[in-house]
Amino acid sequence: MDRFTKKQKKELKSILISLVIFVVLMIVEHLVLPSAGLSDGPESAPPQPVLIAGIIVDILYLVPYFIVGKDVLRKCLIGIKNRQLFDESFLMTLATIGAFGCGEFGEAVAVMLFYQVGEFFQEYAVGKSRGSIADLMSMAPDFANREAEDGSVEVIDPDDIEVGDILVIKPGEKVPTDGVVIEGSSLVNTSALTGESLPRLVSKGEQVISGCINGDTLLRIRAEKEFDDCTVSQILELVEDASSRKSVTENFITRFAHYYTPAVVIAAVILAFVPPLISGHFAAEFGEWVLRACTFLVISCPCALVISVPLAFFGGIGAASSKGVLVKGSNYLELLAGLDTVVSDKTGTLTEGRFRVAMVEAAEGYDTDAIIRYAAAAETGSTHPIAAAITEACEKPVAQSKIKDVRNTAGKGITAKAGRDTIAVGNRNFFDEEGIELPELAADVIGTNCYVAKNGKYIGTIIVADMPKKGAEEAIREMLKEGVRSVIMLTGDSEKVASAVASGLGITDYRAELLPQDKVRVVEELLNGLREKTGAGEKADKKRGRLAFIGDGINDAPVLSVSDVGIAMGSLGSDAAIEAADVVIMDDDLGKIPAVMRIARKTLGISKQNIVFALLVKFSCLILGALGIANMWAAVFADVGVAVICILNSMRMLNRQK
């Protein structure tokens, strides 16, 4: 029974008790009394005792009614006092009293009983889905081990952590707040934050982020942030806030609910009085029409819709965050489902954002390893990104002591003596100045060429480039498959580099040689293009295709805010990016974008199914009820039954993800 809260247990008890009494009374009314009455013959009126017994049974029906409905009645009275007339409890009470008034005692109790059963399921299902969302985001640490100066360790609440505290994280425990490792090195699992299943190695001096799970060795860290400011707290807050930025669908439902209930109630009043007045047999038919009107009242609560749509969106946001993607509002989820254009920054987003050796061409008589080794020897002391790429590519560097006479010409090249050889590394300009002859290169250039010479003679070329990220090509292919019409790359790089990267990644269009401020202009132009396609006006603007911008969150806040959806990548721990973007991808994986688009599409699908299903059942029930075909039992189903089914449908959003 631990699955239920105290309140739920109490409700369950009153439901069960009144159900038993109700069934007993039903048996007495429909089996015992008729057979007692029939013993005197079918033609005659029931004898006095049976009639009295019938009245007693009717009165007894009030017992289960009050047991199960006392909360509803209480809320109804308070509602009347507070002038909240279209409140659910008020409508249910009115409907059941109407049924009592028409002599349908059994039906009145049944309606109240099933209404409560439905409410119970509804509450249970919502509680359950709240729980599973909390599980999805179960990255918040429960405690921290603080080490005092004398070396003793005490367990404290994460809220009590102060900046500078030394914290001990045992294997398997969660990192309680952001900090720097001061002792130990361990594999930490970042999956709760990034969705990345591969653990990351952290060692002394490196940052660890709260919410990660420590692997196999003990870590000591120094806290750098208080719990409220740490990554996990920020993320949890964002996800919670997300539900307050409502989607168009949610707003539609809220507005709809606002008018729906009063409209149905007015229809019920009309239904109760007008048909019997028209027919002329008011006294004879009034009861029947009041019953039908009561059916209306039961259906008039919009709860199924009001619950299930936000629940679907909440589930979608939860599902996305379990994959390491923060969606900062339901509205963005809705926009993601209808993306038309994806604009992406190149450096750091589509490419790795740092130079690597892409290709080495060797002159005759030399192998590529040797060329890198020579170049690396000359570049050892340099901090230039190209130098870093070359030194990184060198597997067996020349000993530092052998390198002498380093001469650096900024922006052009470098010469140095390695042992007895003089090495020169630089661009074409540099080689011209040095008077070293270069062969004409036939190769299709994708990056920056570094020429290498030994003792005044050209020996090879190293091509250094910012390489596309692994998986970028596939991610773009999948985005196009998910319905994105065009993917456009923006870059400050040269036309040549841009076209090489774009064609390598299968990108439909690119804009090269842009200054940072040009990016906003380009995005605005693209947005205008989308607007023109659907025509002017606010209404048309709602239907136009949507534009998303993907950036690394550094220096692109203006572009992020201009676009419909601003997506920041690789922003784990970067507050500025989390602040500026609408969607934050915690790691570098571009493949998360099509994955989130799928989640978004599914969320929208489920909420549409719910809306259509609930409206269909409610309206058919209203029509059948007006015709006298559907009774109050059907109405109860149309109310709470539909709500439960819609909630279960929304919960699919959560279950799929694990």
């Binding site: 309140k7 209480r74 809320k75 308070i78 507070n82 909240q84 409140d87 659910e88 509450e123 709240r130 969302i133 919670e240 806030d241 539900s243 307050s244 809220t254 609910a257 609560c301 919009p302 709860c303 009001v306 619950i307 936000p310 629940l311 909440f314």
Partner: protein
Amino acid sequence: MKKKFKLIDLDCANCAAKMEEAIKKIDGVTDASVSFMTQKMMIEADDAVFDKVVEEAVKCIAKVEPDCQVVL
């Protein structure tokens, strides 16, 4: 000032929407939201009248759903 409050026993989604509407109408409130899913209420209002606004909001909530409590 912007502050969040936890709500206990907020049972119906429609009620949450009604509360939100009512709280937004209180004088001095710049923004408000009542989330049925997270059982939380957010109020953003002028500093000078904030305490008074919260008091009003608690009354609004009690009116819509008597069983619902605000953790202050």
